[in-house]
Symmetry: D2
Subunit: 327 residues, 4 copies
């Protein structure tokens, strides 16, 4: 639990933030922060009794720290953020901040359903050390989340956030693709620096890069399955669940893309597709955590209602790694 001290500090941060001008690295010289690179969206380790296991979290981070990641995403979809209390969300970010070297970026998921709650969470995330806020689209009323509503939402959040904001579109969870025209409009906001796009539609990713080319705006692929293709059309990095277990390989794929070794990149990309699908769409967080256990990290259980894999599912998961030479 976040103690009273932290909360009080959060509240102070909030009032400071709300009364100050737009902040983050975007202010001052007028250049936005560069978020290019690879990020694992870290999982939240739980004990057998479903408490957050901060010790295991730090151990995982320590091991992941050996790879040339640009930083870490905390409280993305893989972080089970909808299952955490507000205090837990902040405490996790706080602990990750303390465990990370200062040169690693910490992108903290701060999205909530209401605009107001998102603003408050974003300010609090800044207070506990997030470098940028990754804000998922509100989703419960996705039928009414048209461009106008989303532009208004993100503008308000970005206006009031002391740290840069990264848009986050993940239709598999939210039922909602942040419309391209909304992204283009929002790219002009001085405190919105990019988007994590997990939809996997590379035509859309290319179009976003194209239509925001005159802005200081960056696109991160939301999954390792289309990372190479995203680089090819102008993305600058990725937030990849798979990097939690195959961190070296995802970073190698990045390097091959950046150095124009497309043939080798293609071969490596091919071998990552099935493992990636296995730890995302096919078996979700339970699959990712199970794989982490195999690769020397702490995966552990998910919070309910997410459930452990069955034995046949586990076998299928393993096959997706062995058949590609990773286990």
């Amino acid at each position: 639990m976040l103690g009273p001290r932290v909360w009080s500090s959060v509240r102070q941060g909030l009032s400071r933030a709300l009364s100050s001008t737009v902040g983050g690295w975007a202010s001052g010289e007028g250049r936005k922060v560069d978020i290019s690179g690879i990020y694992p969206p870290v999982t939240t380790p739980f004990t057998a009794t479903a408490e957050v296991d901060y010790g295991k979290l730090e151990e995982n981070l320590h091991k992941l720290g050996t790879f040339p990641f640009r930083g870490f995403v905390v409280q993305g979809s893989n972080g089970e953020f909808p299952f955490l209390t507000s205090s837990e969300r902040l405490e996790v970010v706080s602990r990750v901040r303390q465990a990370l070297p200062r040169d690693k970026l910490l992108l903290a998921g701060s999205g909530c359903e209401s605009t107001q709650a998102t603003v408050e969470m974003t300010v609090s995330m800044a207070q506990v050390g997030a470098d940028a806020a990754m804000v998922v689209t509100p989703c419960y009323y996705h039928g009414r989340m048209n461009s106008a509503a989303l532009i208004h939402h993100y503008t308000k959040v970005a206006d009031l956030s002391p740290i840069p904001v990264v848009l986050y579109s993940v239709p598999a969870n939210t039922g909602l693709d942040l419309p391209v025209d909304a992204v283009v409009t929002l790219s002009q906001h001085p405190n919105i620096v990019g988007i994590k796009d997990s939809g996997g539609d590379v035509t859309r990713i290319g179009l976003i890069v194209h239509k925001t080319r005159r802005q200081d705006f960056q696109v991160l692929a939301g999954s390792a399955g289309f990372l190479l293709a995203s680089y090819a059309v102008g993305a600058v990095g990725g937030v990849c669940a798979l990097a939690n277990v195959l961190g070296a390989q995802v970073c190698q794929l990045e390097r091959l893309c950046l150095t124009g070794q497309w043939e080798d990149a293609q071969k490596l990309q091919h071998r990552l597709i099935e493992p990636n699908t296995a730890v995302t769409q096919r078996f979700g967080i339970p699959g990712l955590k199970k794989t982490m256990d195999w690769f020397g990290y702490y995966g552990g259980p998910c919070r309910a209602p997410l459930r452990e894999l069955s034995a046949p599912q586990e076998e299928a998961l393993r096959l997706d790694f062995t058949s590609n030479g990773w286990l």
Copy 2:
């Protein structure tokens, strides 16, 4: 804000609940509570500065109290519950309880994403006076919410809830239809009394009635658009957004169905379809609240990111009422 006294009382209730046997009206004589009838899912009134306006809430309830409703649903999808803090959710229920005559049922939406949070919220809802908990399916990870996961989730909630549990399936919001086989399994739980089904698939509703016929289990239609058809296949009532503005008419439709006056029922049902669609799918809560303003209730603004209707939308909304003779 819920004061410290209430919270403390909530916590006591929780510990009592967790240490006691399954409760609610289901215990004792072995018969489950009868939830048949019509319920408006009450909206949450907000001030111009987006604070919950408890006074307006009470005024609305006072006016709605003149209709022969079986009770009220609080914190359903129309209550903007995802935009409320936990304290607000409980305080709203508490205020509604105080404003309602004892013979009106209060069904409180207590669903959260995690099983644990849902249990806690359900227990708290009981503590502040809910007669039953209406528990929406978790949705952010709907891709993994298969029957096994949902049966486990609802069983845990129902095991620990001091009040009866009503399942709540609303695919337009959650992207998830609670599978029929899960409903059938859950219908056997002594503390699960029924389902509110908002999907509008009357074949499914008939099948649920049929396959739970040996259980003490009731089905409520989740919208006025298919209320007559739902009665025809065995539903026992409805939770109808439209009842917030056309309360007399929805209750009249119920009576016509219950007394077998199907011809008149059909005529009335027909005239309710367009208005109902207008305040649900077509224009959502902003449409419902706007209509409430027209009908002498307090609608007022929604919390962001929900937005007010545009002038052309408002006109279209009005037409759906005038063309059917309601305005």
Copy 3:
């Protein structure tokens, strides 16, 4: 194969039709034909070598003739019409016409992808004895089939058809729901008499009945699963795959609805839902044909690429009938 004589006759019919005024039973006194009642959509029997087995077709019709059906649908989705040549489509209708007593209506599916081909097929269907044409929405380019395109298509077909036209909306096959506003516009055409709606959305069915109430226009439910509910909101009959095997029961359900015995109707409806789903969505035409074999009709094989059920599927299919007391 349709011989040269028939084709020549078809062509004559076409030229007659195109030069005459709009025909069918709709002409003369200005009242449209009454299509109320129950229709089995007959299957097309094939030999082991996938030839149309006209003898078996007649045997099936002979057996089905003992039930009080209003008529028969030939070349609906269950007739495997997309797998038949034009000649076979006409020959099947011709044979059914000869096998049917004159007082049974023959609704022939005449939909093709292009408007012109649909017109020609409709005229030919009239020539070989169809009483009305049931015209499915074009579907390959469903992304462009908006109301304007569909209104234009159906108007042209109805203008040129010598027999009344029944609209046919079956989104499970076509990916397209004929929009309500298009239905309302088309209901005013003197040669369009009704719609077969297979989508199962009873709110929509009620709305169509309501908004066409001033027209001479009838709605048929497209499946037995929502037949009672459709009657309850104003439909006048149904085209029910299940009537191919449980003809007596579907006709009994009709009678119970028409005579206001809603309680008995409900009980019967309940027992028909699972068998109906089994021979439609769940196991498709292969399931329907297999069941026909069980019930003393000739089901036989489907044309490829449709395939026979596996043994476990067959068992599940049987269970859906036995568990409801039909086998």
Copy 4:
């Protein structure tokens, strides 16, 4: 119209084909035909009275012949094949064959709903000069088109086809994605040489390339919007509606990809996305044909029920070209 001579010749070809061993370029030395390169899917020009305008077809081909295309797709989705009679389908292919230099590949769409009809059409297409058959998935019963059904269908077609077969998956039209496991199985057939994949899911395209890497099997992107990304993950070409109007540019994009000039390729790809979307998803064949008129080809009308663009649609279409510097 195809004259009697051609039909007789088609029939002879059919009997020859059915009695011979599997044919096409695949026989003999055991290497499959190489289909790599860019193909415009040619439109079918119609006169004002909706007759096929073979003269305009030849004129278009003549103009398109100046670009370094690998060949032409005839009777793809853009060819309005569902609106053509069998005779017209063959005559169009026959005319294209005559108009093309021998070194251009002619891929003819020969898919029908039934397996038998598809076999017959494929054999006929070979007879009138197609180099390979592009076979779209059957779609009316897409709910039953699982891997087993589709493998059976394509195997039968490929067994009996005298020319190589290219699989064709276009979910926007068919509601069906040819499953990856079916593609992998079918890639082993000696007479199946590749797939045209129009779904735009580049993760899937990469996976298909990866899992068929030990087969002689090629992947063509089905649209210019994801052409670069497809090359990046191992596709060898594309069937691009946009190549009907921006043929030089699409071929240039191919060359940039093949020569590893990814930076320039990316810039060009970006400028092609909006125009491509405009002539496919956004405005369909009416949009493509309108654009052809602008670019000096004959576009002309579509057959009904496809309709011409409205003036505002035309303006939006034009903007998608002008804003990217193409008009």
